[in-house]
Assembly symmetry: C2
Homo-oligomer: 161 residues x 2
Amino acid sequence: MKTKSFSEMQCSIARALEQVGSWWSLLIIRDVMMGARRFKHFEQSLGIAKNTLASRLTQLVDGGVLEKVPAADGSAFDEYALTERGRDLAPVMIALAQWGDKWAPHKKGPSTEIIDAETAEKLPRIWPRRDDGEIIPLREVRMKRARGAPRLNWLEEKEKN
Amino acid sequence: MKTKSFSEMQCSIARALEQVGSWWSLLIIRDVMMGARRFKHFEQSLGIAKNTLASRLTQLVDGGVLEKVPAADGSAFDEYALTERGRDLAPVMIALAQWGDKWAPHKKGPSTEIIDAETAEKLPRIWPRRDDGEIIPLREVRMKRARGAPRLNWLEEKEKN
DNA sequence: CTATCCAGTCTAATAATAAAACTAAAGTTG
DNA sequence: CAACTTTAGTTTTATTATTAGACTGGATAG
């Protein structure tokens, strides 16, 4: 009964997850970023059930993350492609890949490598920076509720003091 | 039947999602990053069922993303805190929040703001950069399968040509 | 000491996922 | 072009996850 929706939460993370947070969604997007374009590609790469894949794909298309485009090779079957909205998820994917690589490595070594095509080297860790490129230490990054957003009860406790 | 596991996939993204990709996990982590520490905080903030919350929390503790620590205020109830592994998810959360803010904004305006405590301004978009801070355009970022990783069938097709 | 709160567990109902069989259109082979 | 195979799904049935709500035993407040 995964019926609860995040879409009304006044939190950007919740609403992002509403669109791409289902169990398979980000892996499908990863596959597209790595060159998959057709139903069978996802199916074979992920070992996902056909019906689950079908509903995840239509959800992603409805959400504007993927779109169906005419096949590049002239086939009558449409292909799936990232929209601008979908391509813009790249920082999320890179951050996830780098975290997984660091904290949950596979015995056989890293698998999805993310490289700088200029230098052919592994990308440095994606990390918050100022406009000028200076790295911001996490202590100086604040995640806070915006003006007008609902008050968080555990912060009220603190604010009382 | 969400019984299929990603943990054996030779992909860093899949193994990251195995640990934090369940429907509620990243929202729980967001709450901790925003100051939540106790069961009731998550419950009230998220509107999640008690039993689902309990199993997500133990999953996150077992996965080493959260840990139970003695309460700071002397209460006999333990608190949940991020481990180093958990804190290291900050880039993922920031990337998600910024994407959601851009592509799925709430009518009432942004909610979870991420700011630079030094300047009190919104963080610039987290984005791949070189060591020197130079932004890397997406065209120059390659997500590729590493040496030894299983061959992807749709790439074989291309490689044949 | 009593009432309430807290952090869960247990039970029953419902929704999502999985596996497998099926289908219609597309593509391939001889 | 006729027969066979592939593709992109849909349908059906079984299983698992999530939910809401009742319940519990220990902590806390009055």
